[in-house]
Symmetry: C2
Subunit: 442 residues, 2 copies
């Protein structure tokens, strides 16, 4: 149960549930990004959501689920159903279950009207239903939209209702909900687990490699794996409390040493972030050139803060003309070897490095999936060539991935990132490949 | 209840639930793409998932939830928990609830071993636990991984268990699960709703505009809205059956006419797909240049099948040097106006069109969010300039978006796409802006 006077972590785990509302989620029309965002925000503060339930916009379904969840959980966060349109019914249904009235909140009405005025518009009548709050509850202001959030504490439990649009929900959650939960002692100060990330090792092989370390700790240690297209994460925790956080960290360090170059990082950094840190430490610049991955490789790097410091830029080519014009790839090479070839990838990587004045360059070319131009040069769909240009040479590798187009693109991006990471890691530790080769490895 | 002999739709709605298993989902470490994928696959066949529950890997939690869901639903699909590692317990727990034994399946063992041999590896002991199936159930072969799916029909209900990796699950679902469900009369032949997509109109204004049309149909028509960063979808259906599918389509056509240029499409096409169709119809080519959106604009177009036919290519610039070298942007322009300026965006768009030999070009430059280089030229974070180069002129617009970096990037991409779409639409209908202006609109 929630103790609103305590500022320390409660002794028994607080049960958090997330209710995400909306037919559009169940129809697959919108990804459930709220689970990802709120789950991560809580996870990094020592709390694991115990359940996420996504239900339809039907009032009966909302009522049935909320009754069940409210009985089971200590903290319930809901998302969606606070909008202005006729299918937004959550506020009314939850008020009924909690035995509360909804009351009109003039301050909220004022904020809604002001927001419309700011954008030179007039609120429509349906907007004003967003100005209702629970009679015994608070309003969580929304700086980026018209639907405010709602906060209720009742019977030792917390209900927190947030609007669906992510650009509204996310700042409300970090700036207003997290501090409220922390003030009530409902969050911890650090993650509930220690995560190590690995690359280039399958999930089952990773477990087999690490098992001798795990075995020494028996059931004191809880282990979970999560595979993401060429990267496998391993989370270590001790739900029983038999191992301290420092002891878990020491186990993680032992795993990292055993993994050697396959160890990516502790925590949550992306592969691009790890590469970015290595590039910055070595004061090197990177460029990319891509066809089938269509901008995702460039985006992986530009998603890292301060990308301008290490990322010179990228080129997305959809034709031989573009490769020739932007990357100086010789036409004769494309005619001789084909656009999807090891030689083509090498020429793209070198062209990107030279055009953009970068020390390292990655290139990806290939057939990502159904709908791609198929079969040129006898390459089946899923065939990709990646190339790495480094100060001491340039190499190409052939990859072959099964699966849908989106997966193939992601795996190719991750394979390219991992190759760069290993090369930068070796350069940093003085173990760069000694050969100054220039050519093609298949 | 499921009637396995019927090949026609059952008379009362079949209740589908999806159980997605895995701590990594609840900790926000992996997006719940299974809900998006399976929800859309079923939605397009007339079925709306009634609930998606995501729970932890704890055996107790799995058992409790499965008992409840099995009592309530007709068809349960589970994802995850079939892997080789110690935290994969779903198979065992569900067998207990169903009162079935797990039996070793030599054919599955053979498939697992062969898959390892194919990749030059040896299965570890933990891999072989994937060779167990329910004693009264079938195996759903997995062409892209070692964990097979499992299929059980019991007590007039269906349980379908699928492995977690999306590149394994997705082809299994479309190629094996959908045909099995269809053969049992558990799917319809078309969507349960008619969707119209709009752009450039807020959710509440859209409802207000369309309300007079909706009012004529009273409660025979069910309406739902879904907003996605500059685009709002509206789904029309008639759960009571009072309106036929043809009547709903006729209402949708009326809405589309009323919306005029704000009408994007029927169904599910992306804004980039709509642009692509217009470009192909007009035999025009497009190029893009971007800074803050980092490759996402290029990726929106390359995600459309056959992109090479209309997409010349893209350039991702992270420095003035890259803009000068790849796009021939004059240095004096960048010095005079700054990198993030209307003039800079115009020069990038024109440079992209000229370098890549395209008829149209889009450029996006700006400060996407915290961590971006801030404040140059007094532009706050969230300020973006987009430019459109067309055969008859070039224009630039200033945008200002609040919110987190990912949202700002997405909104800028959508704003650029929508601008291109309107321009192409006007060109097609002969209503292109008559002025041959070249300059800056703010």
């Amino acid at each position: 149960m929630v103790s609103s006077s305590s500022s320390r972590p409660v002794s028994r785990p607080v049960r958090y549930e997330l209710l995400t509302l909306g037919d559009e989620l169940l129809l697959g029309l919108t990804a459930n990004g709220h689970l990802t965002f709120i789950g991560a925000q809580l996870g990094r503060r020592g709390v694991m959501l115990q359940r996420n339930v996504t239900i339809t916009d039907e009032a009966d379904a909302i009522e049935r689920q909320f009754r069940e969840s409210w009985a089971a959980a200590d903290v319930i966060i809901t998302t969606g159903g606070l909008g202005p349109t006729c299918d937004d019914r959550t506020r009314e249904v939850l008020a009924t279950v909690l035995g509360q009235k909804l009351v009109f909140d003039p301050a909220t009405e004022k904020a809604i009207v002001e927001r419309f005025v700011q954008f030179g518009r007039t609120p429509t009548a349906n907007n004003l239903k967003q100005a209702y709050r629970f009679e015994r509850g608070e309003v969580i202001p929304n700086a980026n939209g018209t639907a405010p959030g709602l906060w209720v504490e009742q019977g030792g439990k917390v209900l927190c209702m947030l609007p669906g649009p992510p650009n509204e929900l996310q700042p409300m959650f970090t700036e207003q909900v997290i501090p409220r939960l922390a003030a009530r002692g409902l969050l911890l100060e650090r993650e509930a687990y220690v995560q190590i990330r690995s690359a280039g090792v399958g999930e089952s092989l990773l477990e087999t490699k690490l098992q001798p370390i795990f075995d020494r700790h028996g059931d004191a240690l809880s282990i979970a794996f999560c595979a993401h297209q060429g990267q496998v994460d391993c989370r270590l925790s001790s739900p029983s409390g038999k191992l301290s956080h420092a002891e878990i960290e020491s186990v993680a360090a032992e795993c990292a040493r055993l993994l050697g170059e396959d160890f990516l990082c502790y925590g949550h950094d992306s592969m691009a972030k790890v590469c970015a840190d290595l590039l910055r430490a070595q004061e090197k610049k990177l460029a990319v050139a891509e066809t089938a991955t269509g901008g995702l490789l460039a985006n992986a790097f530009t998603a890292v803060g301060g990308a301008c410091k290490f990322f010179a830029g990228g080129v997305v080519c959809c034709s031989n003309d573009a490769k020739m014009q932007l990357l100086d790839v010789p036409e004769c090479l494309l005619l001789q070897h084909g656009a999807v070839s090891a030689e083509g990838a090498v020429a793209m990587a070198t062209g990107a490095a030279e055009t953009l004045g970068a020390d390292y360059a990655l290139a990806v070319t290939g057939f990502a999936g159904a709908g791609a131009a198929e079969g040129a040069g006898g390459n089946p769909v899923g065939t990709m060539y990646i190339a790495l240009h480094a100060p001491h040479g340039v190499w190409s590798k052939k990859l072959s991935y099964p699966g849908p187009r989106g997966t193939v693109k992601l795996r190719a991006v991750n394979a390219a990132l991992d190759w760069l990471r290993r090369e930068l890691y070796r350069a940093q530790t003085g173990q760069a490949l000694p050969e100054r080769r220039s050519g093609v490895m298949q």
